[in-house]
């Protein structure tokens, strides 16, 4: 399910992007799954087509979905590669933390602050 709250401070395209990205990452939407068309989803959610198109574009840029011409947009297998990349980056970060001798709580706080700064809350 996707919910868009018009009263939220988060822009609708970002609400949509975050929810779809989450559902792709937790495999609620499996690899190869065909997403609704931009027009159909926009009508269902009471959004402008451009808003949905922007969310899809950003998901595509993140490698989570791919557009196959007129066939539509599909959950990309590259989503798994993105996850693997994130794991590698986390391992690199853990190595840096160990070399600096920082404790776990501080390391997590730094990571949380960095994540919060780059990803607006949904």
């Amino acid at each position: 399910m996707i919910v868009i709250d018009a009263a939220s401070a988060v822009p609708p395209f970002e609400q949509l992007r975050v929810q779809l990205a989450r559902q792709i990452q937790d495999h609620t939407l499996p690899v190869g799954f065909r997403l609704p068309t931009i027009r159909s989803l926009a009508t269902d959610l009471g959004l402008a087509a451009n808003t949905v198109a922007r969310a899809y574009r950003e998901l595509e840029e993140a490698g989570l979905i791919e557009t196959r011409g007129r066939a539509g947009s599909f959950v990309s297998a590259a989503g798994e590669a993105s996850r693997e990349r994130a794991r590698h980056a986390a391992a690199d970060y853990a190595a840096v933390i160990a070399s600096l001798g920082l404790d776990l709580d501080e390391a997590l706080a730094i990571a949380r602050a960095a994540l919060t700064a780059t990803r607006p809350a949904s």
């Binding site: 399910m1 996707i2 919910v3 868009i4 709250d5 018009a6 009263a7 779809l20 559902q23 609620t28 939407l29 499996p30 799954f33 997403l35 609704p36 159909s40 989803l41 009508t43 269902d44 959610l45 009471g46 959004l47």
Partner: protein, 258 residues
């Protein structure tokens, strides 16, 4: 929402197995629109039966030429088809208006397709009912009596009109936007689609038309086949009702992507 609308919305939710779901203005408006649409659709289908019967009566009396009767019937059937399309559009417009007032909108990542909304069993039953009605019309065309053949042509025109109207309504049901604000109203939206689809494919008119138009004129074998088809159809429909999960269960299943 009037207290009567509220009561009927409460009864509807209870009947669907959602006693804890709140009665909202959205639900009240959508159910009221559906009640009006169903009455209008029933009147249109009744008008089709009456028009087909009048066409048959005109053929029997030789008051009008057969070609003119068919022309008038075809025009009336097309008019009734347009009326059914307008009813479906009006219902979708009422849903859209109700949806426009919502501060939050919810939708499926996977829009329910025909397998959820109508279901293979009901789809097969609808196609079989249509096939039997067409087969009865075509078989009556082989009879040497010109009155029976004229009735068969009228029957085929009316049956095709009903089929086209049903197709139009089902297309509208499958493509019309979801109107929901949360998980409960999203479930209710699917239930409404399922019930609308089952209502659209209700076989009553396709069972009625052959009997109304040709019984009494057609040979005994045809009458036996027409009544036999109805009896078998009733048995099949009872079996489908018994075996098909409740619309709530189907709707909840549709909420799970995989």
């Amino acid at each position: 929402m009037t207290s009567s609308d509220e009561r009927s919305a409460r009864a509807w939710l209870d009947g669907k197995g959602l006693p804890d779901a709140p009665v909202t203005d959205l639900l009240g408006a959508r159910l009221a629109a559906r009640r009006q649409a169903r009455i209008a659709d029933a009147l249109v289908l009744a008008a089709l039966i009456i028009v087909a019967s009048l066409a048959q009566a005109a053929s029997l009396n030789d008051s009008w030429s057969h070609r003119l009767v068919l022309l008038v019937l075809a025009a009336a059937t097309a008019g009734l088809l347009v009326a059914r399309l307008l009813i479906a559009r009006r219902l979708a417009a009422a849903d859209r208006r109700a949806g426009a007032t919502l501060p939050r909108r919810a939708a499926h990542a996977v829009k329910p397709g025909w397998r959820v909304v109508l279901g293979p069993a009901h789809a097969a039953f609808g196609l079989a009912t249509l096939g039997v009605a067409v087969a009865l019309g075509l078989s009556a065309l082989t009879v040497s009596d010109p009155l029976v053949r004229q009735g068969a042509v009228i029957l085929l025109v009316a049956v095709l009109g009903v089929a086209a109207g049903t197709a139009v309504q089902l297309r509208q049901l499958l493509t019309s936007p979801v109107v929901a604000e949360d998980e409960t109203s999203l479930t209710v939206d699917v239930i409404m689609r399922i019930e609308d689809a089952r209502e659209s494919t209700s076989p009553s008119v396709l069972w009625t038309l052959p009997v109304v138009l040709l019984c009494g004129f057609a040979p005994v074998w045809w009458n036996v086949a027409a009544f036999g088809a109805v009896v078998l159809g009733v048995a099949a429909l009872a079996l489908i009702h018994a075996r098909t999960p409740a619309s709530l269960a189907t709707a909840r299943q549709a909420m799970i992507v995989r």
